[in-house]
Amino acid sequence: MSLISTQNLTLVLDGQTVLENVNIAIEKGEIVTIVGPNGSGKSSLLRALIGALKPASGSVTRADGLRIGYVPQKLQIDATLPLTVQGFLNLPHRHPRAVVNDALHKAGVGDLAKRQMADLSGGQFQRVLLARALLNAPDILILDEATQGLDQPGAAAFYRQIEEVRREMGCAVLMVSHDLHVVMAASDRVLCLNGHVCCEGTPEIVADAPEYRALFGTGTQGALALYRHEHTHSHDHTHDHSNCDGAH
């Protein structure tokens, strides 16, 4: 049985349909990345998976007792709120100190427990968010553009950390990412989203799919080429920026 799946999931936000008839399933231990243009419903899909958005129709099915570790897209802590890293990790449920320290270690920030959240750098902050998501030994990590605001080396280091976490803990990873080269390098499966699932499969299959090319073009600023070289290079440069498969 899948860890988490959706059945004909349709989401409506402020009267706008953001997702229609989405059927996805995440299996144990796999890394799945969701790509798609802005406003394609990526974050909404993740929010529906964690239960923060109610489906307009269709449903979300979670495996019995599924433990989810969620890393939100952004988290702004008001400067007026004093909070140590340790205190942050103990919200809303308190954990033994050893568990907190272990999670911080796994996320690569073992020495930050006593620091104020407001004093952390962008990269440290994201790792603390990751540590928080690791606290309950999740079956699946759900990350929403977790490297937003990080520079490229920072983002790369963060993704390496995630891979390490998966190796160590065996959890599945579902993430939204704009870093296409990372997606292609590190994912078992890619979901291309644009109001609906326009294509999915291994990175190679998705990169070759016309729907994907319509969305991201063929060059993708050279990032794809890093991993896919000339044999996938198309000389058809009609950059059709209409929706994925023309269904909308």
Partner: protein
């Protein structure tokens, strides 16, 4: 021993300061200053309602403050720019409340008592209501403390942890209405928000955890209350405003000391 009106005033002030401290922290953290304004200004409408229906003031204020807090909380949840709207609600409630009180037939209401409080006229019954309401408000916040903090940080993160951010917001709303209702007699509708925000803001530089900030806010609030009471005797000034003035002075002092405490 409660026969001394100064002692009753001091106890009433301390009760309000204790209830306002943790709540004020949330008002500051969640940037709900206008929320506090709108709710406390609505208290005046509650007074008008209570007087016209011959209800206890506390009851009328509690009902209207709760209604206003629910309206504002409902607006907050939506994806509209609420700043101006909150301003309209806060000031509109005040003005309409003033008009409503003045329209009451055959009542010569002492408006300033409701606007600025009359802490020196607190009765034993008032004291029971103030401490009872304060105790309930504090108990609510202590009970939901961890959940409220989580929802304040990020609603989605709270949801992922199995909490319902809407419910936590409701708890906060309830505590706010309750605190406004008990604080009316002490500092008046105009200055309740000040007693929420100023001690909490003054406590910030000395705090490294949310809990210490709430406790520091309570201490600063009590100093402001008792200091203001003493000052109002010494200089023959109105008591509620004197208390808020002392709180503002403490805030200035704290802001001046802030660089020393920053690591």
């Amino acid at each position: 021993m409660l026969d001394d009106f100064v002692l009753r005033a001091a106890l009433a002030g301390v009760g309000v300061a204790l209830a306002a401290a943790p709540l004020g922290c949330f008002v500051v953290w969640r940037r709900m200053a206008y929320f506090g304004d709108a709710t406390s200004h609505a208290a005046l409408l509650g007074v008008a309602l209570a007087l016209s229906l011959d209800l206890p003031i506390f009851g009328g204020v509690l009902v209207v403050a709760l209604a206003m807090a629910l309206i504002v909380a409902g607006l907050n949840g939506r994806n509209v720019s609420t700043d101006a709207l909150l301003g309209v609600l806060a000031h509109g409630a005040l003005a309409i409340g003033l008009v409503a009180v003045s329209l009451l037939p055959n009542q010569r209401v002492d408006l300033s008592a409701y606007l600025f409080g009359e802490i020196l006229a607190v009765t034993k019954g008032d004291l029971a209501v103030i401490w009872g309401g304060a105790a309930v408000s504090i108990a609510l916040l202590v009970w939901r403390w961890q959940a409220l903090l989580s929802a304040t940080l990020n609603p989605d993160l709270a949801t992922a942890s199995g909490l319902n951010p809407k419910r936590e917001q409701l708890i906060l709303t309830l505590a706010l209405a309750l605190t406004v209702a008990v604080a009316l007699k002490v500092v008046g509708a105009l200055l309740i928000a000040a007693m929420l925000i100023i001690p909490a803001a003054a406590a910030r530089p000395f705090s490294r955890t949310p809990e210490t900030m709430a406790i520091m806010a309570a201490i600063i609030g009590m100093i402001a209350t008792l200091g203001g009471l003493a000052a109002s005797f010494a200089f023959d000034t109105p008591t509620g405003p004197s208390m808020v003035s002392v709180a503002a002075l403490l805030f200035a002092l704290s802001a001046g000391l802030a660089p020393v405490f920053r690591r």
